[in-house]
Amino acid sequence: MKALRWIVAALLGALFSVGLALSGMTQPSKVAAFLDVSGAWDPSLALVMVGAIGVYLPLQLLIRRIRKPILADGFSIPQNKSIDGRLLGGAALFGLGWGAIGYCPAPAITSLAVGGVGSLQFVGGMLVGVGAHELWRARAARSARSSRPEGGTEGLAEQSI
């Protein structure tokens, strides 16, 4: 069963990356031309999002009605609704890195085998960033569990590391 899940996941990843390549988003110059609204504006990324959301929105409405996903034991949809400093600060930082280079996570990984040393360096930095954050979060969760009876992770922002 696990092998089936891996195969399906790999096929979905391949479909995703083919879509990315088709959409032009594996060309950082197109991304930069979209984000740089004051320059020679290229609206392509907006069309990519329209195409993607146009397909995803109705499908997710249907999919949410089923009792259980086809392979996994249950749905794991984030429930956090708060618009806080972490959301804004994190998104702001992400945008800076994205706009400077023209890569966000998916196109960077899609380009990994063919993008040369530049994409390797970017993905390397990205993996270090993600890994460091996950390490920090695991440590913060552990100390929250040991110091408080409720052991929740809501107070992470206040924890000093």
């Binding site: 990843g13 060309q27 995803y56 945008g95 085998a113 993600v130 890994g131 996950e134």
Partner: protein, 146 residues
């Protein structure tokens, strides 16, 4: 001229549709948001244990699909906007940390989050688009390519 314009509109829409379809597939089969930064976190997190294989398989699929697409159409890929290794690693760090602190990226917030009309994701997307615009403009004005 008309055909060129139609093609220029069609491939981003069609590519986007495939991305949306793949993302819906992740929801349908695995019950999860197809957020690539989240997938990376799933692979790298010290807490993951049993669930590491599935996001890893997806990520490997991304790489394989990219390779296949390149073999069919190498022109679909282009170089990053900056060449300096320091800039690339630093930007990668910003993206890696920022997407996790902010809880998502262009796929997680921009497609899946907006696709389920999440106010949080809409705000996040506007935010990273805004700072993305600032960064892209800055790189252009500062000459880029360094």
């Amino acid at each position: 001229m008309d055909r060129m314009n139609a093609a220029a509109l069609a491939t981003p829409l069609a590519g986007g549709a495939l991305i949306g379809l793949a993302s819906a597939g992740v929801l349908l089969f695995e019950g999860r948001i197809a957020g690539i930064s989240g997938m990376l976190a799933g692979v790298l997190s010290p807490e993951s244990t049993a669930e590491r294989g599935i996001p890893l398989a997806f990520v490997l699929g991304l790489v394989a699909g990219g390779l296949a697409a390149f073999m069919v159409s190498p022109g679909a890929f282009g170089p990053p906007m900056l060449r300096s290794p320091l800039a690339l690693v630093a930007a990668g760090l910003l993206v890696g940390v920022g997407t996790r602190v902010g809880g998502g990226c262009t796929s997680g917030h921009g497609i899946c989050g907006i696709g389920r009309l999440s106010r949080r994701s809409i705000v996040a997307t506007i935010t990273f688009m805004a700072t993305g615009a600032i960064a892209a403009l800055s790189v252009r004005l500062l000459g880029g390519g360094a």
